[in-house]
Assembly symmetry: C2
Homo-oligomer: 211 residues x 2
Amino acid sequence: MEIAILLFERLTALDAVGPYEVLSRLPGATVRWVAVEPGPKRADAGLALLADHPLEQVTAPDVVVVPGGFGTRTAMQDPQVLEWVRSAHETSTWTTSVCTGSLVLAAAGVLRGVEATTHWNYLEQLRQLGARPLSQRIVHRGKVITAAGVSAGIDMGLRLAQQIAGDTVAQAIQLSIEYDPDPPFETGSPGKSPPEIVELVRRAAARLEAE
Amino acid sequence: MEIAILLFERLTALDAVGPYEVLSRLPGATVRWVAVEPGPKRADAGLALLADHPLEQVTAPDVVVVPGGFGTRTAMQDPQVLEWVRSAHETSTWTTSVCTGSLVLAAAGVLRGVEATTHWNYLEQLRQLGARPLSQRIVHRGKVITAAGVSAGIDMGLRLAQQIAGDTVAQAIQLSIEYDPDPPFETGSPGKSPPEIVELVRRAAARLEAE
């Protein structure tokens, strides 16, 4: 089973690494890190992840994973990226995204009229791209699974592992990464967070996006 | 504030990327990816993360983060790694680890007689290295914070963010990465997991370790 994870400049590293850490543990899985041009891609907070393969080397992966990050703004206007997503989706068993990766799926035409999710701050943008946004952590419609912001990629990966390999394997993977989360606050989604915290994050995101 | 994250061959990528994704969002923070030799380091499941700096370029970071992975077996016998950890710990404000990264801290002498944690499957090994292992998700003693396996680095990062910058900033970071976890199973730690799942993970780890 071939899992292709798309890389591009200014992605959010955890969006990609969360599903990778889960899905790479599936029996028989091979993860391919792909990009328009192979080489190191700098994530939005500075870490460089290495893309080993150009897009044309991985044309029919079983699983497609598109991470998010500010770099999606450029990626979703890149014809090579869009064509690859469109074409890989035609033959994929699963097409997935984390965070604003769903904006790239939508820009490629994969989410037209389809219920999907994204980072809570970008649901309206997802709507403008033709999808039907839902405020949920994971949205699973047919062979498309979209996850909410950043850390939701771990939950998405485990649900996909369950679909692919069943409960026992998925449970073993969850235990192997000791995923028994214990967040210090109850502020992980906008509905649970004080309005001033939501506003703080919105303002910070707008500043970063303008950079 | 300078945050140094140690890289080495066969680390577990999420161990490093979890805390990075949190701590890099702290106001004024700079993350430095360090290794004995700069360049790409292959994680245990194939992703290459780029180390930008040799150890001798980042000698007095405010925060030290040591990730785990099967590669710790080699790292904890590397005199350059151990000397760097020892010396960086002398001047650090915080010294931290995720997963079996605590074995490296212990091998460097940082955890002698100190309560600490690690991935649930390696608590006995941590004891043999002179620490006092606790089955907890996060153990905070003085300026040393150790986290349990892999995904626990996100929780550790948020608790450290709270210590460094206070509740409001840490809450905003938690919301920005939409960390409102929703694992599909209740099998994230060995105490909650059926014994056959625990056994499955132990056997898989033993196989991988022998590779």
